[in-house]
Assembly symmetry: D3
Homo-oligomer: 133 residues x 6
Amino acid sequence: MAAKEDGLARGKAKMVELFGPGADEPGGVLFEMAPKLGKIAQETLFGDVWADPALDTRLRSFITMAALVVLDRQPELRIHFRGALNLGIPREQIIALISHMAFYGGMPVALNSLKTAKEVFEKWDAATAKFRK
Amino acid sequence: MAAKEDGLARGKAKMVELFGPGADEPGGVLFEMAPKLGKIAQETLFGDVWADPALDTRLRSFITMAALVVLDRQPELRIHFRGALNLGIPREQIIALISHMAFYGGMPVALNSLKTAKEVFEKWDAATAKFRK
Amino acid sequence: MAAKEDGLARGKAKMVELFGPGADEPGGVLFEMAPKLGKIAQETLFGDVWADPALDTRLRSFITMAALVVLDRQPELRIHFRGALNLGIPREQIIALISHMAFYGGMPVALNSLKTAKEVFEKWDAATAKFRK
Amino acid sequence: MAAKEDGLARGKAKMVELFGPGADEPGGVLFEMAPKLGKIAQETLFGDVWADPALDTRLRSFITMAALVVLDRQPELRIHFRGALNLGIPREQIIALISHMAFYGGMPVALNSLKTAKEVFEKWDAATAKFRK
Amino acid sequence: MAAKEDGLARGKAKMVELFGPGADEPGGVLFEMAPKLGKIAQETLFGDVWADPALDTRLRSFITMAALVVLDRQPELRIHFRGALNLGIPREQIIALISHMAFYGGMPVALNSLKTAKEVFEKWDAATAKFRK
Amino acid sequence: MAAKEDGLARGKAKMVELFGPGADEPGGVLFEMAPKLGKIAQETLFGDVWADPALDTRLRSFITMAALVVLDRQPELRIHFRGALNLGIPREQIIALISHMAFYGGMPVALNSLKTAKEVFEKWDAATAKFRK
């Protein structure tokens, strides 16, 4: 069986692939408040689950967004919408996913998620515009 | 704008693609109890949403299973696990999806969904075995 | 302020109005396992809330069914569908309520609730048929 | 069967009845981000479901608020509290509905919904006061 | 059986024990908007349930936080995190509770709750610092 | 940092403490269908989280039951009610916990959980009676 250190390395690599450079640094509220849970997120969630090749990263991004939309978890959706853009998932596919979810979790969770998507897309465009100058 | 009749035809075709021959017949509790809602399911959910080419049917199957797992909707999961097998989605990918969801909806919904998957897989095998004889 | 005993009497009367003769008897799993919670249900839930004339009993039956449908609480829906029939709410209105909820809680909770409604309606008809002979 | 155009007209009329003049204009985040889902909301949710005479608009407003309270969907509650005031539903009935829901969805969703109701009532009063001058 | 007035007195005493001096005053949005529900909270929720010696107050604080974390009820968590600090529950136990819940309600509710805990802890420290000067 | 093997050993010991002899054997639907997730449950959920001494096992049992009650996860409640009895938690405390949860997750989840508790208690008594003969 693989040592935990391998899971940590795999998890960090997957976090960078998904969220961009620096995403593997232990930081944010999670690591500040609950470093043990942070380690579980890195090693187990990203290192064992997301890094498992049974499903590719793009598909995992889609199913994660689906779960977060129907559960109405807007702060985490914000993070995973950014991740999806980072992976190159087209915006129209994100919109189609949210619209599909309206029939499984109800219209209200779709509406909330569209608002979050709009904010993420606008910030992405603003950041990209700054970068291009 | 497309006439409703087109949506109905598209929806029926999508239901057959997803659930197999005969799935487009109005039947079951839905049509017996609430025929108007049944029509909405055919025309709008399957005809407008599932049939929208922005996401392909396989991907829609994945995100639907993801939603149903985290919401713990076991009776509908049963139907969509069968749909996924019908589309040729490998079982190991369905298992990987359920395992991924354990971290977004909690371990209990993953456990419940694994039980449902086991039952669906066993019935599928039994039906296939009968068919082969 | 009214004494608790009044709440108890009001609650029992409301339970009989809603669920029929005998419904005010402390019984069932609730009273067997958790008699204090049973008393709270009688005195406070039925005696203070359901008996509050700000909303009439029929309307309270509708909003209770709406809540139970979107939360997918099938065992309690069974009880409140019977209560609704007992109050004379037409079946087509119950079906319309479930169908409406499909857009707020998702199709799966509507489908589950239609199955429960079908069972309750059939038991009601069987009981009524027996009674008529 | 009715053509889709009829559903659209019925849906727009129902949206004006519920939310006031201008509510039938395609606008807001829904139409900007997901125009297809916006069309489904107008034609199917408002045109086929809300406009179905099996339940009158006031009763549909009550069951919608009930669902949104127990699911803790505060942004949509805001819209439907305004709709309820627009239909002439008395505030004490809205408060009674929220209080009733405390026993089906828990005290926390009732508290959150009371805060939202307070904000909506205050904005309504401010807007009405301005109008009267 | 105890008179309702006793429940009210017990409830007020429990609210002061849990939330500090003044917490027994009818106030806030609950009493302003829904005084009947406020009375039920005082008499029944705090006077009958929280004051029932079958579970001590500290343990009730833990199970209440657990419920609020997995249901993602952040505004009420804020109140009960403060109550927990007031009862002398160590912060590392609150963090351990939130981390435990990640596996039952999903990572997203744990993350949201950690953010809320951080804010409550910081306000507590700021208030205590002011008090010490 | 501890090696994963230690987590596995700690997790197995905790599972035996909580669920009785044999509970550390990889078995059941979880291990049959999703062995990787089973390993995560043993090593991480039981080995890192449940075995973390920040909260003792009895307290973790209480908060787990609280979460499962409000989320209405009856199959897992069945397992954890047995675990609680195994740890020596008195039945009246389990009943008090369920009753407390009625105010946070709603009456319906409390009712469902009381039914499950009744079944678990009866099976426990039947098994104990057989053992005594």
